[in-house]
Amino acid sequence: MTLKSAEVPRRSRHRRVPVALLVPAGLGLAFLVLPLAGLLIRAPWSTLPQRLTEPGVLTALRLSLQTATLATLLCLALGVPLAWLLARVEFPGRRLVRALVTVPLVLPPVVGGIALLLVFGRKGILGVWLDQAFGITLPFTTTGVILAEAFVAMPFLIIAVEGALRGSDTRYEEAAATLGARRWTTFTHVTLPLVAPGIAAGAVLCWARALGEFGATITFAGNFPGRTQTMPLAVYLALETDLDSAIVLSLILLTVSVTILAALRDKWITSP
């Protein structure tokens, strides 16, 4: 096999795609795309305009975009330093911390919501203190939605940023250090610009995950139109009575997220 391929001119290798890879690849693509096609085929196109203008739809969409964006900002503020810590600082238990950070990835979001209630709820470990000392209760508030989304989405950001940091050349940082830069200056002036594409990619992934968040949100923040009812929750409740309107809501969410993701990708993330 190796001998043979060496004899074959280079460009012909591009032509021959192995069937054994092409078939499962095609099946994989169909598996991912067909359900989307199903939504488009079943969508009630004739009543679409009037459904789009229903007041509840725009409220839920606005809330979704706001909370996903704020959750992403929160993840950036906390997640980038954490990713830096994991990638650049040797400390005991680093592997454990790294494993703990990814727990929300595998935790069913509904369980995440319960866990958040047990800590930040009115009777929760920190929630009791927040309530008594400051009169702050987080469940059933928009802040609660942001927390639920950030909890589920932050691992995506951390993994992406840590990967970018580990892949980046540390010699620039070392050069900055030998020139007398402090660690903080090095971080802000050398490290951050160096891994900016990685941070942007992580933020986009994080935002997309936050936008689609359902389980933790409905469990921790409940469901109330205009305050905690984001698009995925609106879709779920529409599904209870009206499949068509659930499809319309899903299509809106899809269109908005795909448009924004595509726009960001072209602008900020330059693929190699």
């Binding site: 054994a20 047990l118 709820g121 469940p139 409940g222 469901n223 599904l239 209870e240 499949l243």
Partner: protein
């Protein structure tokens, strides 16, 4: 060359596995009703509020019919109706409201007409000991009292809206939950001070929750209809299960859970 062959073999065996799965599941359901006296596998889609009583009835039914195996899917009635209308393989549907049942029968997915087998009504579920001293619907509008209701799309929410209208009480809940169990869990966790839930659900959670009766709930009694489904893989088993639910033994379990006779 070897690698390519191996990959091709893998793909083929994968496909075989896939088709194999389809075959075995078809065979499983087809062979179930032909089991003579045994009633085989029965899949029951039932309203969330039936969780405890139907689980007990299911075990009794299996004990009374050796070879029978009852599998439940408990969820909000409307979600179940949607699943059934989208072709979920169920034998029996027990709904918490006639309106939800109607979406299934209107779609031609019911076999015959639905029979009402129990009634249920709402109570105000409060944390054990009733710390806020809730005595009626009007108390739920007091400042500092957080209330969870079911969303209006599910039967317990529709009943709550009806009862609140009958009492002329205007209430802003902190959340509209997707089914009665999640409304009740918010009471159990202490996140809300009260929820409108079915008497049966409050009774099932009697360890953590007290049920406060209120007169207006009489105006919002929910009938629970049950039906054999048109595309049931095991119609005989489905009918046997429904007969058992309506038998004296089934009724005893339901009454003990707080349901009323139809």
């Amino acid at each position: 060359m070897k690698i390519r062959n191996a990959l091709a073999a893998l793909t083929v065996s994968g496909l075989l596995l896939l088709t194999g799965c389809g075959d075995s599941s078809d065979g499983g359901t087809a062979s179930a009703p032909s089991g003579g006296s045994s009633t085989g596998a029965v899949t029951v889609f039932a309203a969330a509020s039936l969780t405890e009583s139907f689980t007990t009835i299911g075990k009794d039914f299996e004990a009374a019919n050796p070879g029978a195996k009852v599998t439940f899917n408990f969820a909000g009635s409307s979600a179940l109706a949607t699943q059934i209308n989208q072709g979920a393989p169920a034998d029996v549907f027990a709904s918490a409201s006639p309106a939800t049942m109607k979406t299934v029968t209107d779609a031609g997915n019911g076999d015959g007409t639905a029979a009402t087998f129990v009634k249920n009504q709402l109570v105000i579920a409060v944390p054990k000991g009733n710390p806020k001293g809730v005595a009626g619907l009007a108390d739920l509008t007091k400042p500092g009292v957080k209330v969870a209701l079911c969303a209006e799309q599910v039967p317990c929410g529709a009943a709550a809206t009806k009862a609140l209208a009958a009492a002329n009480v205007k209430l802003t809940p902190v959340t509209l939950e997707q089914d009665v169990k999640s409304a009740l869990s918010k009471v159990k966790l202490g996140e809300v001070d009260a929820a409108l839930a079915y008497r049966t659900d409050a009774q099932a959670s009697a360890a953590d929750v007290d049920g406060v009766e209120f007169p207006e709930s009489a105006g919002a009694i929910n009938d629970y209809p049950i039906i054999v489904l048109q595309n049931a893989p095991n119609k005989a088993g489905a009918q046997a299960f429904i007969t058992y639910v309506q038998s004296d033994k089934g009724k005893a379990v339901l009454t003990a859970a707080g349901f009323q006779a139809p």
